[in-house]
């Protein structure tokens, strides 16, 4: 009798708990996927102003950016004049930078991927692995909040055992209309390292989009990097030859 009861109980637990958790994980995964598709679009063209802020100095830069699909992107600095023409190409998980002064393309070695990109608070990894939040982590829905009357999902991302990532955990806040409000980066000890926060949500390129993104280190107050979208346009497609080394070196613009 008892064994039978246990068996039934076990089966019940299996049917309820088993699929229940996995569908919850799928929910979280789906939310992240939808949000990622939303902010990346199929392809996009943007002009972004990047300001690196430090206690004793501040440096603005203007960047033209093209993205396509999950992982291809190319950026060119257009201002200040001193840095004009510097470019970064990202394909898959690889990155190259181009400097017009020395007229060379340099591939960023794996050992330098955790270094700052152009001296900002974004690392090369942040740019190169932006789509790894989909594939390298398991997603769990932690809680829901409300923001301007809309539901916000708080999702915890734990790296998969063999995933080549530097973070011990990430936490995303995604609004129900797919807008990413915040991305927090934690180290292996699960202490906050830095956080990226979106603000000034407004219509851009035909959809609601946070105009300003701020990446702030957790341990220092007055140091951050702010991205402000000046222009943003979503497209259905961009030519493949835009994301090539030869285009990095001789931009066809």
């Amino acid at each position: 009798m008892i064994t039978r009861a246990l068996l039934v109980l076990g089966l019940l637990l299996f049917f309820f708990v088993g699929p229940g958790t996995s569908s919850k994980a799928q929910d979280a995964q789906a939310i992240v996927q939808a949000s990622f598709d939303y902010w990346r679009g199929k392809a996009s063209v943007a002009t972004v102003e990047m300001v690196i802020h430090r206690p004793d100095w501040e440096r603005p830069m203007t960047i033209n950016a093209w993205t396509k699909g999950k992982s291809d992107s190319i950026f060119f600095i257009t201002a200040p004049p001193k840095d004009k023409g510097n470019g970064t190409l990202k394909r898959g998980k690889e990155m190259w930078i181009y400097n017009p002064k020395v007229n060379r393309v340099i591939k960023i070695p794996p050992s330098m991927m955790s270094q700052a990109w152009m001296g900002s608070d974004f690392s090369n990894d942040d740019l190169a692995k932006s789509d790894s939040i989909l594939d390298d982590y398991t997603h769990t829905l932690m809680a829901t909040e409300t923001h301007e009357g809309k539901t916000v999902y708080v999702i915890k991302l734990m790296p998969k055992p063999d995933a080549p990532v530097v973070w011990g955990m990430q936490r995303l806040k995604i609004r129900e209309d797919h807008i990413l409000l915040q991305e927090e980066f934690y180290d292996e000890d699960l202490t906050l390292v830095k956080a990226m926060t979106g603000s000034q949500i407004q219509m851009m390129g035909g959809r609601l989009f946070p105009k300003v993104w701020r990446m702030q280190k957790a341990d220092v107050k007055d140091e951050y990097t702010e991205l402000t979208y000046q222009e943003l346009e979503f497209r259905d497609d961009l030519p493949d030859n835009l994301f090539t080394l030869s285009n990095l070196q001789n931009p066809r613009r």
Binding site: I52, K82, I97, N99, V102, R104, I106, M112, G119
Partner: protein, 412 residues
Amino acid sequence: MSIDLTMAWRNIWRHPRRALLTIAAIAFATVLLVFMLSWQFGSYDTMINAAVRLHTGHLQVQARGYHEQQDMHLVVSDPTAVNRILEGIPEVTAHTARATAFSLVSSKERTYGVAVRGIDPVRETQVTTLKQLIREGHYLTEGDTNAALVGGLLAKNLRVGVGDEVVLLGQGRDGSIAATVVQVRGIFSYGQDELDRNVIYIPLPYFQEVYSMRGAVHEVVALCVSLEAVPRVKRAVAAGLKTIDEENTLVVLDWMELMPGLIQSIEMDLVSGLIFYVILIIVVAFSILNTFLMVIFERTKEFGVFMALGTTPGRLTRLLLLESTTMTLLGTIIGILAGSLVTWYFQVHGIVISGTSEMLRQYGLPERMYPQLSALSVVVGAGLVLVITLMTALYPALKVRRLRPVEAMRAV
């Protein structure tokens, strides 16, 4: 008292062979201690001087926090003013300025992250041994612009040789992108992988131009006449800095603060040495204890007679202590003399330990090591032996006080 001394002296030589052996044991321990301590102190001096001449110098003036954070925005903005202070101190023999930026270095096929250092080609040779470490090609000359010295391992990794071009790509002090092409002028090898793999030197003025330094540097390095002069010079520099740097942004760091690892390894070596010395002294102490215990056992009858004749136990103790003190003193004096002689010989001629030159080169040390005889190494070694043997001799000397005259006279 003088009769006691005569008796003690005669008692020692009642067994000349035993007395000589004991004295020899004490002397041998002293010789070893004097020599080993001198050797240790000598090798520390060599290590420190070699390390100082390798890169860091005795003292450095830096912006506060630069040493910990290596942030290129923390600069010494007016190196000329610092130079004036250093030139006003007679005990400073040479000084130079450097700047450092972490950059990508790329050859045709490969890219690495390295520290690019701007150095003053002329002054650098007065402070460090860099010029002697060039294995291929040439050192930088004054007025060079886009020339670079590359570490041996880095050159191998980049697959470049003398005359090839490499691209440097980093960030300037103003946040702008710093990029340049430099030609490999020479290849250096410190024998330390860390430096040979990660460092590129370019001329300082060119560095300041490429990295938009606006005349600033990251460290002003000074060399003093001797290690002993360092604290004095440090105080003088600190006082001088107060006059030019009102916001108190500059600090002066000595080699101990710049290379804490060196002091730690010296301390570790000293402690492990001390453990060895204590073991050595304990062995010697036991042999002395043995000698004096035997004295008591074989002279019990004699002591009984002394006591029956009215000698106080206190006087007997004093007699025994005189004997042991005389022997210990003899031993240590002979030890100090012989030890100093041996040490002095090697101090003049040096010692080469075969097969270690490769390891020593790794630490930038010369092949031949010299012990350094000093008052400290003599006094510490001999003093330790003296104190411990005297303490050992105390036990048998006090044991005499428990003797009863009648029983003692019956003892065999």
